[in-house]
Point group: C2
Chain length 368, copies 2
DNA sequence: ATGAAAGCGCTAACAA
DNA sequence: TTGTTAGCGCTTTCAT
């Protein structure tokens, strides 16, 4: 393993020159730079990360703090991760994912106070997220993917739930639906103040009221069973419902199953729109789900870019951004059977023609 | 940020003594140790990871190399990760996940030759995985989760696909099924030599032949559409099929959807058993899927323990382990409708009574 | 535009 | 059982 000494010797320059070639922190003549670069190439030199970190007091490592529960990472979250990893790599940083949730504060404190992290991205942010406190305490810059309750002084990137709900409701209303039920996360989750659940609830009320319609929300446990129960409740409270908007990616499958059980066809009897859902998941259902698809890797990329700005400038400006979800119409939404006074606006939303989109996307997966 | 100097000064000992207290590499009297520990506590001392790494030439960082495609991490893979993270933490190591697939060899080479990793775990291992070569080249110890084609000199932990298939087939045969179709990964995937697909194919042939039955395998693209197509093929080739064994977690949903479309009820007309599937995913389906559930976090834990042994001893012995999947009977499997000569063995497999298991597991999920 | 040299905070000989 | 000290490989003043 060649060291900087070796490179300097071979190039007949001092170590500091080699260092400056590497870091670019001071002008080097083209001739010298070439010599050094040639020596590096010849020796296959790679700087020692630990030595750099010790001397410069920067590890060039960014942490992505990512709680992993038993349920796995959805395609949406995975896109965040890959986007962040790509952006970090492009900037010469390593992105390490640490499966650290709010339960592992000690592990986080260790990681952070050992000066192992130049900065951190937090995923699965809670309204009162103690990880934020720990990181601030030890002075590690951070950016949230999501939002805490109080975001003063915090940079974040999050999904624009208001826009997402509004567009989803708009789609259904355009199709002619009037009786739309919103299946949210569980009552417990709401009570805990889970941000997305609260924001979408309020946005749903606003959107429906704006259309002169009555907002009806049903909480559902995050499971297929929860979805089945939610459908039962929904049909009891709104027997005339023609459309369901679902925030709960797990429940939506139970919901679809129960609809089938009861002989209600999708989308002829009931339209279903799933929110913040990846194309992959949307197409597991039969028919494939019309969904608001999440902004994906852009979230991760923007978060990293924001974080880097916080490091470089010293005091980067606080940045708070909301990214929209895009409506992707598939087979699960259509005009209600009772096509009454449905003034389907010109250029309004069309139900997907067959399953072409699904077929097109049916790519092969290769792993081993 | 207190340094070791500060601790030594406060405890009135030398820095080396503090260091030895920390590393335990030489005996320290109880009195001294207590003094040092007290000083550490008082100063809230945390060793500087970079300095340790530089001086000791060990980063105490283990890498978990984990390709992330657009599909996300399944619950099964997530369990591997959390198991590994827990085991690494318990041993005083950091586990960093790097979303590095066979496409990012340069990034891997950088990570490895910068001496940032003491060792690595590889997930999503391909039969000819170039990451293995890169790591060996730079001398980073590694353990596979999965298997390459040639495993000589390599330690690995993998799922016992032979046992899994055998048990799944046994379950169906016990229920009285005779005409069982195996829905595998895609033809492309098989052609590429994807290990699990090949191993399960062969195991299926062995198992069926062992029962005096004819093995029929259908490849399916990894998507709902692929599952629908596979069912079509299956019914064409074996109109009298009463059971389906599925390796393809994505296809199985399309398969179920298409069964419903054709008015074939599960499990009355057709039993479905899903392989290497987490409980969470199994219960998204309606009815919940009988499945061979993967060993979960044990895989990750054992892999880390093996890796640590490779570091400590210098030359740890090669270890190759296969872990079994466990049969979990849910609602998707039952005796065939045409209960003919079905000699359901005493104590044989029973279909799940209702959905109690599902309901019990319907825990709340809290995130933000 | 380049070089010399003093650390960065810790580990691990080498001494005692 | 404990202390002294020479690095680990790099960055970054301070000189020139």
């Amino acid at each position: 393993m060649a060291t900087m000494q070796d490179v300097a010797r071979l190039a007949r320059v001092s170590v500091s020159t080699v260092s400056y070639v590497l870091t670019g922190t001071r002008p080097i003549s083209q001739a010298t730079r070439d010599k050094v670069l040639a020596a590096m190439a010849e020796l296959d030199y790679q700087p020692n990360a630990m030595a750099r970190g010790l001397a410069s007091r920067r590890s060039r490592i960014l942490g992505l703090l990512l709680p992993m529960d038993e349920r796995g990472l959805g395609a949406t979250e995975t896109a965040f991760v890959t986007g962040a990893a790509a952006a970090a790599g492009a900037a010469g940083y390593h992105l390490v994912l640490s499966p650290i949730g709010v339960g592992d504060l000690d592990e986080l404190r260790r990681l952070a106070s050992q000066r192992m992290l130049d900065g951190a991205l937090l995923m699965e942010v809670q309204l009162h997220d103690l990880r934020v406190d720990v990181l601030r305490e030890v002075g590690v810059p951070l950016v949230l993917i999501g939002r805490t309750a109080d975001t003063t002084g915090l940079s974040y990137v999050d999904i624009d739930f208001e826009q997402t709900v509004q567009e989803a409701v708009g789609h259904l209303v355009n199709l002619g639906h009037r009786r739309i039920v919103y299946v949210n996360h569980s009552a417990d989750t709401l009570a805990e103040g889970y941000g997305p659940a609260l924001r979408t609830r309020d946005a749903f009320t606003t959107a429906m009221t704006g259309h002169g319609l009555e907002p009806l929300m049903i909480p559902a446990e995050d499971s297929a069973a929860g979805g089945r129960a939610a459908l039962d409740t929904a049909l009891r409270q709104a027997p005339d419902l023609t459309a369901i908007l679902a925030m709960n990616e797990n429940a939506v499958f139970g919901l679809l199953g129960e609809l089938a059980n009861r002989g209600r066809s999708v989308p002829d009897d009931v339209s279903v729109v799933s929110m913040v859902t990846s194309p992959q998941v949307a197409e597991l259902a039969t028919p494939a789900l019309t969904a608001m698809s999440s902004p994906g890797s852009a979230v991760g990329r923007i978060a990293i870019e924001t974080l880097l700005r916080h490091l470089d400038g010293g005091r980067g400006e606080i940045q708070q951004q909301l990214l929209p979800c895009a409506l992707e119409v598939r087979g699960s939404s259509a005009p209600p059977r009772t096509a009454d006074e449905s003034d389907t606006g010109a250029g309004g939303d069309q139900p997907a023609p067959g399953n072409e989109a699904a077929r097109r996307r049916a790519a092969t997966r290769r792993r081993a």
